[in-house]
């Protein structure tokens, strides 16, 4: 090794020293598809008693048919508290009403550059989750549409239904590339303008929005969409392998900062990262927005099952 090579190696960013990045060719292989069938089956077995395989929108207060009770959670509307039940069981329960109709499920995949940061695992995980949930939706005879969002709606797949269309979804997702800035607010404005039919809007994103992730979610809320936030998180981003004097720059905006990274700084960064994640969760919970954190290190099928258990996606 020459002296120059040595110096280059000594001063190179650590991310460049990782192995070759994985490709998307094997993203939806046979193994993946077998897991999708399994997940669709599981979703039916677990929830069939209540829903008979059809999907219904939840319109609290406006529905006519009582469907079920569920435990009160902070932030629920007091008007739907079942006081009779409270008298009898001494528990706070919320009454749920159902109204059967065709449900549209929109998958909004964040395709900004930050989703491909590092080894691009966040985007791959988002694609896998989208495909899996879409398959479950198709199996439940729901209408599925997929859009990709940066600071605009950069890609779009028309709504479709029927299990056979899953391959179209695969093709669409495979072609999705991460590039551009994140501005969920603007992108969602475009989205709601383009999609008049309301429904479930599953937002798969890392929520790295310089303008604030709240705007995008609020736009969906204000326009009667039912947001379901799947927060794709790469835990290694909370523990960057950095030391010494560095000039950090945002991979999307290019904004630069000089910083001397010490163990203490890293510790504070880790705390700030966790705080950011918690902030997103707090925001969604407070606004009755389903929030689910998807760790890239957890296999997607396990995540899907967690989504099912968490509720809000399948009813």
């Amino acid at each position: 090794m020459g002296v120059l090579d040595f110096f280059k190696k000594a001063t190179s960013p650590l991310s460049r020293r990782l192995g070759p990045s994985r490709t998307d060719d094997d993203l939806f292989d046979d193994e993946f598809q077998r897991k999708l069938d399994y997940l669709a089956m599981v979703s039916r077995r677990v929830f069939t008693g209540a829903m008979r395989a059809e999907r219904r929108t939840k319109k609290t207060g406006s529905g006519v048919e009582f469907a079920d009770h569920r435990d009160y959670a902070p932030g629920d509307d007091f008007r739907y508290l079942d006081w009779h039940a409270y008298q009898r069981f001494d528990r706070l329960l919320i009454r749920l009403y159902e109204e059967e109709e065709d449900l549209s499920i929109y998958f909004i995949v964040d395709s900004s550059s930050s989703m491909a940061f590092g080894d691009g695992e966040k985007l791959r995980q988002a694609k896998r989750l989208t495909a899996a949930l879409a398959y479950v939706g198709l199996a439940n005879l729901d209408r599925i549409a997929i859009v990709t969002a940066t600071d605009e709606i950069s890609g779009r797949m028309q709504s479709t239904r029927g299990k056979a269309r899953i391959f179209r979804i695969f093709r669409f997702l495979k072609d999705v590339k991460a590039e551009g800035h994140t501005d969920l607010g603007e992108a969602m404005k475009t989205f709601v303008a383009q999609h008049k039919r309301r429904g479930l809007a599953v937002l798969l994103t890392d929520l790295y929005d310089p303008a604030g992730f709240e705007r995008g979610i609020n736009v969906l809320r204000y326009n009667k969409f039912e947001p379901f936030v799947i927060h794709v998180v790469d835990p290694t981003e909370g523990r960057p392998d950095l030391k010494g004097d560095v000039r950090i720059y945002d991979c999307e905006t290019g904004e630069e900062r000089e910083v001397t990274v010490t163990a203490k700084v890293l510790e504070r960064y880790g705390a700030a990262f966790e705080e950011y994640l918690e902030e997103a969760k707090r925001f969604c919970t407070a606004r009755q927005v389903s929030y689910f954190r998807a760790d890239v290190n957890v296999p997607f099928d396990e995540l899907i099952l967690r989504v099912f258990r968490r509720g809000g996606f399948l009813r």
């Binding site: 110096f7 000594a10 001063t11 190179s12 960013p13 991310s15 930050s114 940061f117 590092g118 890392d206 790295y208 310089p210 790469d234 981003e237 960057p240 950095l242 030391k243 010494g244 004097d245 560095v246 000039r247 950090i248 720059y249 945002d250 991979c251 999307e252 905006t253 904004e255 630069e256 900062r257 000089e258 910083v259 001397t260 990274v261 010490t262 700084v265 504070r268 960064y269 700030a272 990262f273 950011y276």
Partner: protein
């Protein structure tokens, strides 16, 4: 302020280069690595608190650069070894006399006393303060300065490294005089003697050495004295039977304990004799080996301890001797018949005797010696050296005086003359004799009260001896002295000296017989090295300090002609030097030598160099670890 170390010009050059290197490293250190992050907003959150400290951080970095440059400047200044003018002329002047005598080869302190002495002196050199000056000298048979009087560490260390123990004893008085002369008139003079103390009295022909105000210090070397030595070794051929020889040697135990030694005698590389001896403490045991034969050239005596171990001084465990070379002498006897003469010449089988009638002189061939018995013909070429018995004519290189009829005898004899060795002539009775009168340079070997009867001289390079009477008219031939005289004379002529020195003693100036035609000779030392030595009056002069066999060769003017090579041996043979017991005290001129003074006052100057290297190393290390993100 004076720079006595690296010159100012060089310092500036080094400073410019090293300073530039530091600044370059500093700039490289400041250039930050660009690193992409997924979301800079989180970083902004935590960096808001850091803003306040960034100014301090910048200052800290600049301070770091300034510190490094200051460090460099200080080190360069140290390299320059700056001194005030007052400091330059003060300081001690030290002459270190390192004993290089044979006893310093003792191995009682590992690896040897001389190495131990070198190590001690090396420590002193390193402990010199900046203004001290030192001279290293070796004392053996001579005194050899190995450096100048200097404060330069490298020169002094080179001088220390050049110290080598010889096989000679040390001339302490001469060494002290040399040191005293060197230090005369210098401030704070000091002589440091590094020795085992086996030194002679500090006095010579000019009287005891006075050191005056010079401080004398002593560094003793050595621990114990287990040693057996060959302190005498001599060999000679029998005059009448030169094929045989006798050996005298003396073995000495210089230690305080009895020891068994094995003594071997080796002739021409072959073991001739082996005997075991028991030596009491400090016993000198002479041994004679009469009537030996077998060796023709070299003899070596060797002792080893009976228990298989080695004594502390191997240098005196061997002794060397060389037997005188033998060759047949060609003798021409011009006589009308002399039974006594012819019978005496028959005694030595190594003589080729040709008897010639005076009328038929000269006989064919060349001769080493011609004996004229009562005749004095003109000397023909090839007659060699001449022995006149009862010369009567005028054709002689000396004057023949009147005939003395009275009974005479040898009233005065030159007892030291080689012609008279082993003889007793004082009671020889002579009926009639002619007085002989030589020239001024001729030597009278024996004379009666009336005048010289036996003279010796040289004419035009031809030696002659003349006896002024007819031996048949005396009782001389009836004595054993007669054949001895004849053989002594022939030996003197052919330079086969029965008083041949079988070995020289180391530490003395040797006069080695050599061809008188050359001006210099090549001497091959026992270790194989060669050096040129001058020849004066037919003798090569050399101060020998190594024991062993030497070869001396004189070059011939004609190319292709064979060189005249002769061998000789040299031995330590010094009981005082073999007594290797270390002496803890040294006394000179009634004054006891003190301990060596503090030689660690000044800072060792090489330290600056090491420091500079260390600082460069640490800077490099810091730079590297910084970028490897180890130290931050």
């Amino acid at each position: 302020m004076h720079f006595t170390g690296v010159p100012l010009q060089t310092l500036i050059q080094i400073g410019a280069l090293a300073g530039a290197a530091i600044v370059v490293f500093y700039i490289l250190k400041l250039r930050r690595r660009p690193v992409a992050v997924p979301f800079s907003k989180i970083w902004q959150k935590i960096l808001r608190d850091k803003e306040a400290t960034s100014l301090f951080s910048q200052l800290k970095r600049l301070l770091s650069l300034l510190l490094q440059l200051a460090l460099l400047a200080l080190l360069l200044l140290a390299l320059g070894d700056p001194r005030t003018a007052a400091n330059l002329i003060e300081g001690r002047n030290i002459v270190v006399l390192i004993d290089g005598s044979a006893s310093m080869k003792a191995t009682d302190v590992g690896p040897s006393r001389i190495e131990s002495a070198r190590e001690r002196v090396r420590a002193m050199v390193r402990g010199l303060s900046g203004s001290d000056r030192m001279l290293i000298a070796q004392m053996d048979a001579a005194v050899t300065p190995l450096s100048t009087l200097t404060g330069e560490i490298s020169e002094l260390e080179a001088g220390v490294a050049a110290v080598k123990a010889s096989d000679a004893s040390a001339d302490f008085a001469r060494s002290l005089r040399f040191a005293a002369d060197t230090l005369r008139g210098l401030p704070s003079p000091e002589i440091i003697v590094v020795s085992d103390g086996a030194l002679s009295e500090a006095a010579d022909a000019a009287g005891p050495v006075h050191l005056g105000e010079i401080k004398l210090s002593y560094v003793p070397v050595g621990m114990r004295a287990k040693n057996a030595a060959i302190t005498g070794f001599s060999v000679r051929r029998y005059p009448l039977d030169k094929s045989r020889y006798e050996v005298m040697l003396e073995v000495t135990n210089t230690s305080d304990e009895a020891m068994d030694v094995e003594l071997s005698l080796i002739g021409d590389g072959q073991l001739t004799d082996l005997s075991r001896l028991r030596l009491n403490p400090h016993e000198k045991l002479p041994r004679f080996y009469p009537n030996l034969s077998g060796a023709s050239k070299t003899l070596e005596a060797k002792i080893a301890l009976g228990d298989g171990t080695r004594d502390d001084l191997p240098a005196d465990d061997r002794a060397y001797a060389l037997l005188p070379e033998r060759r047949r002498a060609r003798v021409q006897v011009v006589t009308t018949g002399n039974m006594f003469l012819e019978a005496a010449l028959l005694l030595d089988e190594y003589l080729d005797v040709t008897t010639v009638d005076p009328a038929k002189y000269p006989a064919k061939g060349a001769y080493d010696v011609t004996i004229f018995d009562g005749v004095t013909p003109s000397v023909a070429a090839g007659s060699g050296s001449l022995l006149y018995l009862n010369p009567t004519g005028t054709n002689v290189p000396f004057e023949v005086g009147a005939l003395i009829d009275d009974e005479v005898g040898f009233d005065e004899l030159d007892a030291k003359s080689p012609l008279l060795r082993y003889t007793a002539l004082s009671d020889v009775n002579i009926a009639r004799a002619h007085l002989l009168k030589g020239e001024k340079d001729d030597k009278i070997v024996a004379r009666s009260f009336k005048g010289p009867l036996l003279i010796q001289g040289r004419r035009a390079g031809v030696k002659f001896v003349a006896l002024g009477f007819d031996v048949r008219e005396s009782d001389f031939p009836l004595r054993i002295a007669w054949p001895l005289f004849l053989l002594n004379t022939i030996n003197e002529f052919v330079e086969e000296d029965v008083g041949y020195i079988s070995s020289f003693r180391t530490g003395t100036v040797w006069s080695i017989p050599a061809s008188s035609a050359s001006e210099s000779a090549t001497l091959e030392l026992p270790d194989g090295s060669k050096r040129s030595v001058p020849i004066k009056d037919g003798r090569a002069v050399f101060l020998g300090q190594e024991a062993g066999f030497y070869k001396i060769s004189t070059g011939t003017p004609q190319p292709g002609a064979a060189e005249d090579v002769t061998m000789f041996a040299a031995n330590l043979a010094d009981p005082e030097e073999s007594a290797i017991a270390p002496h803890p005290k040294l006394e000179v001129d009634g004054r006891a030598a003190g301990d060596v003074g503090e030689l660690k006052i000044g800072v060792r100057r090489e330290m600056w160099v090491y420091l500079l290297l260390a600082v460069l190393l640490v800077t490099m290390l810091e730079w590297l670890t910084f970028h490897r993100r180890v130290t931050v």
